[in-house]
Amino acid sequence: MARSRGGVVLVVEDIWKDYEGLPLLRGVSLTVSRGETVCLLGASGSGKSTLLRIIAGLERAERGRVLWDGQDLRGVPVHRRHFGLMFQDYALFPHRSVAQNVAFGLRMQGLPAGEVRARVAEALEQVNMGGFANRRVTDLSGGEQQRVALARALAPRPRLLMLDEPLGALDRALKEELAGELRALLRKTQVPAIYVTHDQDEAFSLADRLILLHNGLVEQSGAPAEVYAAPVSPWAANFLGLSNLLPGQVLALDPLRAKTPIGVFEGVQVEPAAARTLPPLRVGSPVMLLFRPGNARPGGEGENRITGVVEDCVFMGEGFRLRLRLESGHLFTFLLKEPLETGGRVTLSLPKGDVQFLMEPDGAVGREEK
């Protein structure tokens, strides 16, 4: 279950948006609850940022509604929505100091100068930038700018915080450090947040709930672990880094078995937590088989065996990452406890629970529309 800590505050209903004549968002709906961090995950160009801008009021959707506490926000101008938005490249005001940037939203609220000062100091402390108040923002490093932008967005205590790829421009190590700080801050302030990213690791580490956006639609939604354990579609599996996929045809329903170019496999169909319903499996239905990488073992008897040539086997700390070239030409990745020799021929067997039968979701037909 998603860890929601209260009632739903933001409802986004059936948002449609065209971009340069082509549909970008095609009926996206989502909710955000009090205290919840929702990660909007999708490839670049999937319309995630546009959705944020529609919620902020910076862009108008062709169709659909955005509601806050049941109130339709149509007609409420950007500056009266009282949302926070952290831009991808921060959009810090270059003509103002760090403190003046953070103070901006507070001044717009008409707070007295003394309170503005106190709140600015507090916000800068929150992001560990206490000593930077009088610095020019143009002199800051990327990570420092990111912190100031966060402080600026948080200082007015917005009722919703939106973050558009806030760690996108930073290097790996800094990204992890800042993601940790961000997680702590979101927990502490309890501000409902929508976090947009294309990086699944970032999303896993921050999200209470994950929303996968694909082809202008919500592909899947749920807690990160649930989504990872049961991707709803081949695209979702692939996007989350589960790329051992092979097309097949259902042979029998009980037990669930399918025929593939490299043999017959017995597997399971995992019920996805949310999002769209799946079409029922029938004998003869085309399916996509996902071979989860974690529990494969060399050797074994009977069905659920995969044979191939070891392309390489790399030590990864907790185990060895094996890349296996199948006879069908596919390249699969598995995690093993013991290393295997490169160039050797090997057969792996998988527990049936690790062979998942995936289908294109119902929306698949509609997706091909022009």
Binding site: H82, F83, L85, A91, F93, P94, H95, F104, P156
Partner: protein, 577 residues
């Protein structure tokens, strides 16, 4: 030698010119420098000398003070007023260009380049054809309302001056502020809105502060141009309105009071210098990084009703401002509206090419001793000579400037100096200095292209120099390694790349020369008029024929300038990518 393997650090940091340390390089330097010394610094120095000597001898008469403060006061007043109105039109226009995408934007952008290159006499003639006593508006009102006298008396008034200045300088605001606005990351404004700022507060707290350097630099530039304006004021302001420039001309040419003209010139130069210093100070103010990630990201189509009204209102206004005077000029030059000779009262109206035909006729009572079309021939001859002179000198100067050194920075500043001195001052200096053969204004018409070259040279160098510097040193080295002599390197590598820039420079100086009025007004003799001078003379004469001929000549000049702009854009577009 180890340097055969690794290039020495110095050889990479300092781009070396083609001619090592040979005497040829000295020539590169010396020729433009001698030209400047003889034809710029000497005449300018002569003005100062004349001023000092004559006022040393006679002392400063209180009436002289008045003779300076009166035109100075009016110069500042009209410049301030013109700048104010230019900004009132220009800032919304800059917003239009910086933030909106609309059909016809490209065309409008091309139209805004027109004022850059249109001669003052053409603009003056255009406003005359639109608003003058014989202009379209008055003609239509007289016809329509059955009046006996033209109802609009805008010529020879301050509004005419201001209007022409707005026509000229709105472009500067659009270029400077508009491009800064386009560069301004729209996310900064959006961030302010999300943080709770209403529209006007976004403007006051984010947009305007960030555009401040651009606005200030446009403001000072517009003021400087309005301050030094000559032709517009002489032709549209009439005798009552004398700025410093016009007063210099009147004192020198009508009153023959050269010392006073010189003093006015000195005052004018001092003011220009002050304004230039202020302007470069403001320009030096650190521009903040505003660039959006994608080009044109901040541009949008007008959406709300107010935005659409704003955009189309502004487009209409700019279209009217830029097109209607020029259209009025061209149409009026082929339209007859006068009573025919001998048929009193009967008015013949309609299309006519008489004004153009008359250009080829040398009438006895004519203002010049030659048919008016000779002015066109003179103009083209002078312009051709100017191109040769300025591009040749510009080439030498740019070639020697390609090498970076402290001496070169001084040299560069020297070449740019003529930009600061007004053409009128230049003309005055010439008639003070060059009054003996062989260099006599009265017998040596080549002084006109020389004056024009001084005006054009800074532009030519500014076009040529970047092109020369843009050639990577490695290209020349590759050619040399392949066996090319220094001369062959220049011919095979530098020349083809620089040729395009040279063409741009040539078109520039040709157009500058064709339209130049300030210096030419001093130097042109009656039997060798240029087109602008002829237009000025014809416009200030009574009679429908004179008026029509002035407009016909102005139209010819307009067409040539428009063609040049077109060529310029073509050459430039081909050059980019």
């Amino acid at each position: 030698m180890s340097s055969a393997v690794a290039p020495t650090p110095g050889s990479r940091a300092q781009p070396r010119a083609v001619w090592g340390g040979s005497p040829l390089r000295l020539l590169l330097w010396a020729v433009p420098l001698v030209f400047l010394a003889v034809f710029f610094f000497y005449p300018l120095g002569a003005i100062f000398r004349l001023v000092i000597v004559s006022f040393w001898r006679e002392g400063l008469d209180p009436s002289v003070v008045g003779a300076i403060t009166r035109p100075l006061g009016f110069t500042v007043y009209q410049a301030a007023l013109s700048t104010l109105f230019t900004m009132l039109v220009g800032l919304p226009a800059a917003y239009l260009f910086g933030r909106f995408q609309f059909p016809g934007k490209g065309l409008l952008r091309v139209l805004t380049t027109l004022p850059f290159i249109l001669p003052t006499v053409v603009v003056a003639a255009s406003f005359n054809a639109l608003l003058g006593p014989r202009g379209w508006l008055n003609l239509l009102l007289v016809e329509g309302l059955g009046l006996t006298a033209p109802p609009i008396q805008i010529l020879n008034s301050l509004p005419a001056i201001v209007l022409a200045h707005v026509f000229y300088n709105t472009t500067i605001v659009i270029r400077t502020v508009g491009s800064a606005w386009e560069q301004l990351d729209p996310r900064l404004e959006q961030a302010a809105r999300v943080l709770g700022a209403a529209g006007w507060r976004v403007l006051a707290e984010v947009t305007l502060p960030l555009l401040r350097p651009a606005i200030l630099s446009a403001l000072t530039l517009v003021f400087l141009f309005d301050f030094t304006s000559f032709g517009v004021i002489l032709l549209l302001g009439g005798p009552r309105y004398a700025t410093l420039e016009v007063e210099i001309y009147i004192q020198a040419m009508s009153m023959l009071n050269l010392p006073l003209a010189g003093l006015l010139s000195a005052v004018q130069m001092a003011c220009t210098l002050l304004l230039t210093v202020i302007s470069s100070r403001l320009a030096g103010e650190s521009f903040l990084p505003l660039a959006p990630r994608l080009r044109g990201e901040g541009l949008r189509r007008p959406e709300s009703l107010t935005e659409r009204a704003m955009v189309w209102g502004m487009v209409t206004l700019l279209g009217l401002l830029l097109v209607s005077p020029l259209a009025a000029l061209a149409l009026r030059s082929v339209t007859r509206f006068e009573a025919n000779r001998g048929q009193r009262g009967a008015v013949e109206q309609g299309f006519t090419l008489d004004y153009y035909r008359e250009l080829f006729v040398n009438r006895r009572q004519s203002i010049f001793y030659v048919p008016p079309i000779a002015a066109a021939r003179n103009s083209i001859l002078y312009a051709g000579a100017t191109v040769g002179l300025s591009v040749g000198l510009g080439f030498l100067a740019a070639q020697s400037l390609a090498r970076r050194s402290r001496v070169n920075r001084v040299f560069d500043a020297l070449i740019m100096l003529p930009l600061g001195a007004s053409a009128v001052t230049l003309g005055l200096g010439f008639i003070i200095v060059f009054n003996r053969p062989p260099l006599d204004v009265r017998s040596f018409p080549f002084l006109i292209p020389i004056a024009h070259s001084l005006v054009a040279l800074p532009f030519v160098v500014r076009v040529l120099h970047p092109a020369l510097v843009s050639i990577p040193q490695s290209l020349r080295q590759a050619a040399a390694v392949l066996g090319a002599s220094p001369w062959q390197v220049w011919r095979e590598v530098d020349l083809p790349i620089v040729a395009r820039a040279a063409l741009v420079g040539a078109i520039f100086s040709f157009t500058i020369s064709l339209g130049e009025f300030g210096a030419t007004a001093f130097l042109a003799r009656p039997e060798f008029p240029t087109l602008p001078v002829a237009i000025f003379r014809f416009l200030s004469q009574p009679g429908a024929l004179n008026y029509g001929q002035a407009l016909a000549m102005a139209t010819l000049l307009l067409v040539v300038c428009a063609v040049n702009i077109f060529l310029l854009e073509r050459v430039r577009l081909n050059g980019a990518e």
